[in-house]
Symmetry: C2
Subunit: 157 residues, 2 copies
Amino acid sequence: MLQPSGLEWTDPECPVARAADLVGDKWTLLIIRDSLDGKRRFSEFEKSLGVAKNILSDRLRLLVDRGLLARIPNQSGTRSQYELTDAGRDLFTLILSLRQWGERNAFTAGESHSVLIDPSTGQPVPEVRPLSADGQELGPDQALLVKVGQPLPEAAR
Amino acid sequence: MLQPSGLEWTDPECPVARAADLVGDKWTLLIIRDSLDGKRRFSEFEKSLGVAKNILSDRLRLLVDRGLLARIPNQSGTRSQYELTDAGRDLFTLILSLRQWGERNAFTAGESHSVLIDPSTGQPVPEVRPLSADGQELGPDQALLVKVGQPLPEAAR
DNA sequence: ACCACTTGGTTGCAACATGCAACCATTCTG
DNA sequence: CAGAATGGTTGCATGTTGCAACCAAGTGGT
């Protein structure tokens, strides 16, 4: 499990809250975006994000500490690379959800934006959607939050 | 489209970045989580999140301004409710991705956490996964970022 | 070998955001 | 009608962000 040093969970029982504690920050999300896109060097992130160096330095340190990135030092001791760990790579679904929500809701019809292509089809990556076990689309009104310690509802037993 | 007043996009061409500008903040994400869970009143958010009132007040104002929540005033002019707009409800996939990533990566095997149940099956909501058009699972290495203005790769034409 | 440039940072400082506590006008509740 | 709860706002101390300057180690060109 990810075990960040000196981080108090905002709401320890909720996976959404733990995830938000770990990656719920603009620069953190954009660093992960760039990492998934293959970027690994300090200067690549800096150029792509336009973020202040001290902030980038801080976020990279946090991401390494939290187990999302691994710092691979160069043989000469400097110019390390930052590579996604398994937990970091597992954020692909999240970043894709962010991207597709942004495409649907933060652009007007005429505006162009970058696109993720599936090279096997040449088409944009299909939208990720929550599905019920029977393959039906699942919306927020069909999902029921069960708090920890609470008995499962009748239907779930 | 969402048209927040006085917000400069960090990276206008990237949907991930626009989305991060709009919802890439811990409290914002947790307010959306609670809204999807049916909470609508100031005090409900306050109690659930444990956030300072001025911060909650600020985030609710931003969310309304950005078009993710609608403020429904009470007839008496006070005690309004905050309801998700369509764009806000569309964040269900994102919050679910956050939740499932958190479940996979921010808990040890023994730790318990809240769960989303699909009442139609009684089982936890299945994991959302990016799929290729042919139904194969799609990972970060199989997706290709195409920047705006850049020609589509050969395969996509 | 030398000099300039790039990389990957750190430090100092000003401005802004966050969080706590106190306060307050309404509005429910008994 | 008194008291509590609701939905905030304000002030202040502390923390975070972002800019600019600086710097040491490596890299490249001659």
